[in-house]
Every structure is written in C-alpha cells, then in structure tokens.
Symmetry: C2
Subunit: 589 residues, 2 copies
C-alpha cells in the first residue's frame, strides 16, 4: 500500500500558501526525526497531509482552523511495529478507541490468532473491521498457521497460495513474524514458498528469531526475514543488530524487554534500526498504563534520549515496514501527529490522524460507530456432544500403578515446561490423581470435522481445584481445560460451547465462578476496553480462587499451555508434544 | 528490481556450514554499517551472496577459496547515488572498467543526456550496455526530456507514457532527478503525470532542487521527490535535510559541494539521510583521482568519520533508493565488497562484485568483452547541408548601428549569464562584431525533421578567435558553436557532422586544431578511459588555444551555454531564452 495525497495539486497550493490549509498547528515545538532538533514551528495541514512546516514567519497563518499548541511538543503519530490486536481481546474498532488517545495512530498488526481460528476469513474480518477508523491498522499476513504443522490442528492451514490471495487486501504490507525459524533455517518448502510468495508481492518479511545466533541466525537472515521482536537478552539483541536486523524492542503485558535490549543497542553508533512494539497488551494495561506512549516512556526511563525513542516508533518503523510519507512532521508526510506537554511523560494532549483531531486529554473526540459482521455472530466453538468419559483417562491396567510421562511446569513464573516421569495410580481402569499439584489437562479440537481430544496430566500448573478452561490457547486456540475432575471439565466445556468461547472457571463443586465470554472467534469480545477490563479482572479473580495466586496475571497461564513452539513439551489436540523433536510423547511409558 | 539469491536453499546450507562456501575472506576488519563497529571476522560467500559473517570461531573456514585479508578493512562495495555516465564520455562498459578498480560496485545512473538525443532507444541502449557487467548499473528514468519544453527542441520528448514503458526495463529503480522543479511546484500536468506514473510502478523519485527553501521547498516535497544532489550552500543543505530530504553530497568534476554540505549536516543527530554522489566526473578525474572512493576521501578530509562516510555511500544509499540486501557486509546481503588497507586513503586492494574478485590494486581482474550495438554505429547529427549564410546574422537595416539584446557571461568562472544591451554595427545588411570580447553563437538543431538554427551574440564567453563547436550541449545536445566568422563555424559544423558529433576547435584561419569525436549519440566515445582522457586533454589544449585560458576545464564552458535551466538567459535552437520567464528574447530591440 502507498500513503499518498489523493489530490496533489491542491496540496501543492496549500504548501505555497496560495490557498488556505485546513488546519494550522501554531506555536508548536516540533520534534524533527531527520536531524533530531526540537524547534518552534507552525505546521500546515491540507487534505490529511502536511503541506508546510514554517520555522521563520510566524505571522503567516493561512488556514481555516488554527490550534495553538502553546509551546507544547508536536511529534509524529506513534507506530506499533508489531501487535496482535487479539491479545487485547478487543475487536479492531474497539482496540482503536483504546489506543488512539495514547497517541498510537498506526499499528502493524498480525491477525495470527484469528487466522488460526477462522483462516483467511478471519484475516479479512480483522482487515475490514480496521477499515475507515481514525487510525491506520496495517496488516502483516500470518505466516505460520498453524505454528507447528503435523503437531497440532488449528482451524486453518496457510500455504503460499493463501499468502498470495491475502496480499491483495488493501492495507496488507508484510508477512507477519516468521515463527517457524527452523523451517526457514532448514529451507523447508512450506516456509521457502511462503516467503517467496510474500516477496513476489513486494511485502516486507517480519522475523521472529528467539535466541538465534551464529550460523543459525545467518541462515535465518539469508532466508528473508529482517526484523525481530523476540530479543530477550542483551547479547542476543546485540548479535541480531550487528547482523543487520531491525530490533523491535518489546514491552508487552508479559515481556518487558526494554532494559535488556537497550543495554545492547545504546552503544551502537547508529540507532536507526531500533523500533518499538507492544506485541501483546491487555485491555487493562492499555487503559491504565498506555500503549506506544508507554513503551517510549519505558525506553526513556531506561536511559534513552526522548527524541531517539520517539524516532524509534515513528520514522524508524516507517522505514522498517517500507512505507513512505509516514512517521515525520514534514512536508508531504501524512498528518498523523501528537501534541504533548512533556516528552518524558508522553501523555498526549491532542492526537491527530490524517489531519483530523481524533483524541484530546485521554478521550476520543470522534465517534467510532459500532459495526456488525456476520463473523461476529457465529459460534466458532465446534465441538461434538461431550461426556464425562471424554475427560477420563483410560489406563492400560485395571488397578494399581502405572509409569507415566507427564507435563511439568518447573516454575510458577515460567511458561517453560519439561516432561517428567511419574508413577500414577489406576482405579477401575482409569487414572486417578492424588497429588494436589497434579491436574488433568485436555485439549479439545474445536474446529469442524475434527473431534480430537487429547487428555494428559500436568504438574505444577498452579490451580489446586476445579476446572479452568479457555478457547484462547495459542496458537491453534483449541479448547484447553485444566481440571481436577472430569465432571468439572464437562461443565466448563459446555459453558464455553454455549457462549461461543472465552474463558471459564468452575469450582470444585461444579458451579461456575466466572465466564469471560469471547464470542468472536473464541478470542475477542465486542465490549469496549473499560467493560472488558472489568470482565477480565473478574476472570483473574476466578483464576486466583482456583489456586493461581502467585501470578501477576493468572489468565496467561493457560493460554500458552498448548503452544508447541515453547520448549520442552506442550500439549496439542494430538497429545503431549516434544517441541524440540517435533514428536508426540505417549502418556504411558 | 530485487536483489535476491536465486537458490536460497543452497545459500542457507552454506550459512549453516553444511556445504562449503565459494569464498571465505578471512582475517578481515569488517566495517559494520549497522552499529558502526570495526571487528575482526571471516566472511563467507555463496552464489554471490554473503552467507555468514563469523566473529568468533576463526578456525571454521568451510570454503572452496580462501582469501586472507591480513587484517585489512572489508567494507561494502561503494554506491554512487547519482551519476550521468555520459559525463565521463565513456560508454557504460568502459565506464565500468574505469570505476570498478576504485571500489564502485553500484551506480544509480540517469541516462538523461542520451535520452535527449536518442529518446527511449538511448535509455534502452545505456541499460543494455550496462547488462552483465562486473558492477551494477541501476537506471533512473530521465524525468525531464527535454528540460524546458517549449523553449528548446531535443531529440525526444518524454511524457508519462514513456516513463511507464521504460519502467519495465530490468534494472530500472527510480525516476531521475526531477529538474523541472517549477513544473512540480506549480502542479503542471506533465510533471504530475510523470511522477504519478513512476510511483504507480513503485519507483523512487529522485529530486533536483537547487536553492529551494521555504514554501517552495515544501511544495516540491509534497510533489513527490525526496532526494537532492543539488545543494551548494550550507544553509540550503540544512533546510533540505530538516525537511526530510536525502542529501546526496556531490563531488563532481565541476561541483565540489562536500565542504558546504558537511558543514550543514555534521551537527545533525542523525546521519542516515546523507548519501554521496559524483553526478558528473570526467574520465581523467576518474583515472587520476578516483570515483566514489575519492568522494569518501574528500568527506573524511572535511572532518567526517570514515565509517560514517562509508555508510553514506553504501547502506544509506541502498535505503534511499529502496533496495534491500545491498550495502552491508552481513548475512543475506549481496557480496559486493572492497578490501582496503586504510580507511582514510580509500585505495582498494581488492574489489568484489557478487562474490567475484573483479579488481586488484587498481587493475581489473576480469575481462569486459567489447560489444557492438547498432546505435553506436549510427550518426546522430542530423543537420541539413549548411552554408555560410546560415551562420550570418541578417540585420533589420543595411548599414549603421542597431540596438541588441545579447547574452553576457559576467564572470569567466561562472556559467550564470545575463541579458545585456549592446549597440552593434551593421554592414551590407549583416551584423558585424568588432568587440574582441564578443562572438557569434549558433545553436543548430541536430535532430531529424527539425532544421532550426538560432544565431545570436555572446559576450565574455572566453574564446578570442576561431570556432568552438560541440554536440555535447546540455540538455538538448544540439550543435552549439561559438565563432568569430561564419566560415569557421561552417568548418566546425561540417567536421562534427562528419564524425558523428563531439567537439571541434577551428583556428581563425579555418584549420581544425582538434576534434574530439564522440560518435555515440554525439556524446560518447567507445574509447577506454586512458585513450579518451588523452583525447580530451588535446581538446582542452585546443580550447585554450582559442583563448579559454583561465578555466581549469575549458571544455565545460560551451556545454552549458544552451542549458535553459540556468539563469538568467541561455541559448536554445529557438533563440535566446529568458530562463526565469520561459520566454524568448529577440536579438534586435
């Protein structure tokens, strides 16, 4: 896609002062991303583009509307280099309402979650709900649907053909995080073809290369991706940067990578390959802490110069994603701008998108009408009629003990898991758990034509009783339940089937503590941030009631339990997956 | 165009060390354009691309060929951001032989001169002679053919249709210097349509905005162009940089802009919008002084950090022109590299293009075969049979004196000219010059179907006798002659018609002092640099013999006499042009 004035001749006339501009923002301290200066200027906007920036003649104000910035700073609208809107649990139009007042005017989204549920239709839905908003929601096409083919079944599979087809959507600019880095490094056909299809369509290739270094990192770069938001360690970020990667410095609800990454990059002679992103931010964090403005704030607190930090999520990102006329307060650039009183605090006074004031002092000033989409009314949880039997584990013996391979969380704060040996009891042909640290875990495929149910045992998950269920379960988003008794699992499963997905906590006696309904693809709610945050908070409380007391955000515990790209073992609808070997591990030895 | 490995899987295998690389350059001090560091490393090349850069394990040398850099520096191949190959008077294949040993592996060319002579065919010729060379000759499509429509007649006219058609050539990447800045600023259809056509084809828009500032500069930027190599003054460069332009810092045979521009940019917080270019360098300069390596050297001498200077004509330029995988010694990048013992001296020891050693210690190490093109054998000087009468000026009276408007060079060192009033003598119906500082000037249209001859009077040109003629006459390249007597003009004109164009000096007695034959389009010779430089030197001597003694390079005097974009007045085949008003000025008042 291109960002270009529709009527260039009119823009030129406004630049020359032959006609009035639509808007002049006067007395602004403009942050210049080209030379780093902050200078007093008047900025003229016509038809959504910046026609002229006047640094000398302050009496020259040829505009229909004049806003006096009164010496406040004027910066380009902030750009999120990589975000999954689904992580906010909001639909795109409501996500917009939440982030715009924080100064975010452009997001590079990866609709990967809904892509795994509704396939191409899901991507198209996210694109279309992102249409005609007072912000720019750009789309990178999900590259790895599902994440680990053969080890899990999602609602769709994307190959080069799907990438090519989706690239025709108006706001598609890239191929989203190429997570199957082994597929790239090893030159596997699926990833080679997908990348080639994206490059043919002129898309940039977004990377995802956790912990890669040395020859493996070189191979990944030779494979095409050129960005990474997955650096967690200082050396890791240094090596990637040295190899030529754009480093997307992440501050998500979970991953606080700024300190480690900035420690790596701060000594670099050049900072223009450093960008900022949120990746995954919850509604509550967006509401209370902020969005890209908060990432900038965090960067500044870690020692980054404010102008450098602002450049990182404006002009640098525009270059990273290959878009011209975006990310600067300069003639010919799109008039996405933020007025703010303080560069360190990063609290926007006014936000402008394409020259229109869209937010002021934390509130939207334009109305985003509600919309209806057929997809939002459809129940994506396609599960057969379940019985208690589905959640019991039949043992190879009638009574006694049996040696098992179970999934084991080593640490309550880590989503890393190992496979452990355990001796479990069997009674009347079924496995019985009597260790309070152990729970059953079921992953129920929830897509049409597939009735897979994998049932296993997990230790150290954190809940002590009842059932916790979620259709948010990266990346295939199958119905995932951790439970004490099959009866409770059934209650939770039926509840989520009924409401079309979401999260549900069931107490040990079978009563539902709370349901967070996410009826859009089993991932999103149509509620606005304020309502959703409240709902999510109740869900967190319910998680805690079941025993997940030690986590800041207990909701995140279950959603990565079936993500078979995080070592060593994870569940899928096929069973327990050895992530490194890409093999299934049987429960019974 | 894209720069991409043809067989990515093989490249990946080399990156991983599973197969041998073709070449390893070991013990190199690699200049890293991403973080500015200079570090010891081994660099592995496969199929023309860099597979891996190894900074740690120096024992790991899996390659068929190993070159030991012995601690010398390894930098990316140098890129010229803007050059007219025609200014070297060499055909593209011979230009390559001259610049490659200096470390230039990529040039962004504007075949504007030959475009004015042979039209699309000329551009295609330059493109095709640039094929399969041991360097990368990229093409920006000439945007302004002719420079000033209506005020001159060249061999072709380019509109949006021609731009679209030429954009299909393989190595076309941009629209070349948009010189008609008034056309852009005023939103004239021709330039708007040409720019829109280029943008539609995904080309970048190269600018040319001498002395623009304020609202005019803003309008030019709103019009599309985003680069400029025409900054001559410090403030000018500062303002353009602040407005978001890429600044192409020029060091041509004529324009030495580095000191003024670097003074403007050196205080900028960011240097990534600074690039380097030669624009116009003569064969002799290339031979004796150098090419891009010399521009880097000049930048360093002016106080620029060597790594910054190298980055300016490698990675910065690659981003300016929108090409990926170019301009860095990093995995996945094309293996254009230079080994050199000293970063300040910038004298390449070895030059590599796409992984192949192409020059060593100032000499080519690969052979560029000579080629034949039909266009090279055709005489482009299409002029009717001329007579002495064509070069005389018929006056409105028979005898006496007449008031005239003449072209007046104010300063021997400047190509700026004004229109002056002069009282000239008339004898037997013809103008007679008796001021030794005055000469006749004729511009003879040399294209089929046009017999225009404009004859006028020039003062202060510099020659004192004889005739000086040239078919190199920017930008329409009509046959331009400055002469004392019509007889001598006829001798010079007939000589250039015979040899197919070039330059010719005729003494006052009608004898030819020297002819520099440029039979390819009347602009280029098929001689190699060494021979051509000698020939051009003789031409300079001949210029001096006619009186042009005070100029370092007298050849350049005549070539801008008919360039109606340089104020205040210039000649064309239509007469004396008022450059600012775009009007013709009659000789007789």
């Amino acid at each position: 896609m291109k960002i270009q004035a529709k009527d260039r001749k009119t823009l030129l006339k406004a630049a020359l002062g032959e006609i009035n501009s639509d808007l002049a923002i006067i007395n602004a301290n403009v942050v210049n991303v080209f030379n780093g200066e902050v200078s007093k200027a008047n900025v003229f906007v016509k038809d959504g583009f910046i026609a002229h920036v006047e640094y000398d003649d302050f009496a020259d104000i040829k505009a229909d509307e004049v806003i006096d910035a009164q010496g406040q700073y004027l910066i380009p609208g902030l750009i999120d280099a990589h975000v999954h809107i689904e992580s906010s649990m909001m639909v795109p139009r409501n996500f917009a309402k939440a982030v715009i007042p924080h100064g975010t005017t452009t997001v590079v989204t990866d609709p990967h979650e809904i892509g795994n549920v509704w396939g191409k239709e899901g991507v198209i839905y996210m694109h279309n709900d992102g249409d005609n908003l007072p912000m720019r929601q750009l789309i990178d096409i999900p590259s790895c649907v599902p994440a680990v083919p053969g080890m899990e079944n999602a609602g769709a599979e994307f190959f080069a053909e799907e990438i090519e087809e989706l690239s025709s959507l108006e706001r598609v600019i890239g191929l989203a995080e190429v997570m199957d880095f082994l597929g790239v490094i090893n030159g596997e056909d699926r990833m080679m073809d997908i990348i080639a299809a994206a490059e043919k369509k002129g898309l940039y290739i977004q990377g995802h290369a956790p912990f890669l270094s040395g020859r493996a990192l070189s191979a990944y770069l030779c494979g095409g991706p050129r960005t990474c938001h997955e650096s967690r360690e200082t050396t890791e970020a240094y090596l990637k940067h040295r190899s030529g990667m754009y480093i997307d410095m992440r501050d998500s609800s979970m991953c606080k990578n700024v300190p480690a990454i900035w420690a790596a990059i701060k000594n670099s002679r050049y900072l223009d390959q450093l960008c900022l992103c949120t990746d995954d931010r919850e509604s509550e964090d967006i509401l209370k802490i902020g969005h890209m403005n908060d990432v900038v704030r965090v960067a500044i607190k870690n020692g980054m110069n404010p102008v450098d930090a602002i450049r990182s999520c404006t002009y640098n990102t525009a270059r990273e994603i290959g878009l011209k006329n975006l990310g600067a307060v300069a003639p010919g650039y799109v008039a996405d701008m933020v007025i703010l009183p303080d560069l360190n605090e990063m609290k926007p006074h006014m936000v402008f998108f394409e020259g229109q004031k869209v937010a002021e002092d934390g509130k939207m000033t334009v109305r985003i009408e509600d919309r209806s989409f057929d997809l939002e009314t459809r129940n994506s949880v396609s599960v057969k009629d379940l019985t208690i039997e589905d959640f019991r584990i039949k043992a190879p013996i009638e009574n006694g003990e049996v040696e098992c391979n179970i999934m084991d969380f080593g640490d309550i704060n880590s989503s890393n898991t190992v496979c452990s040996a355990a001796t479990l009891k069997v009674k009347d042909g079924y496995l019985v758990l009597d260790d309070p640290d152990m729970m059953y875990v079921a992953v129920v495929n929830r897509y049409p034509g597939n009735d897979n149910i994998a049932v296993h045992v997990v230790r150290g998950f954190g809940t002590k009783k009842g059932a916790l269920a979620s259709t948010v379960s990266h990346d295939s988003h199958n119905l995932t339940i951790v439970y004490d008794k099959p009866e409770n699992a059934l209650v939770a499963a039926n509840e989520l089937k009924k409401v079309g997905g979401g999260m549900c906590a069931v107490d040990e006696d079978g009563t539902i503590i709370h349901t967070l309904a996410l009826p859009v693809g089993g991932l999103l709610s149509t509620k606005v941030a304020e309502e959703l945050a409240e709902d999510a908070n109740q869900m967190k409380q319910a998680n805690r009631a079941l025993g997940l007391t030690d986590l800041e955000n207990p909701i995140l515990r279950i959603v990565t339990l079936a993500l078979p790209v995080i070592p060593d073992v994870k569940m899928s609808d096929l069973g327990l997956v050895d992530v490194n070997k890409k093999e299934l591990i049987p429960l019974f030895k």
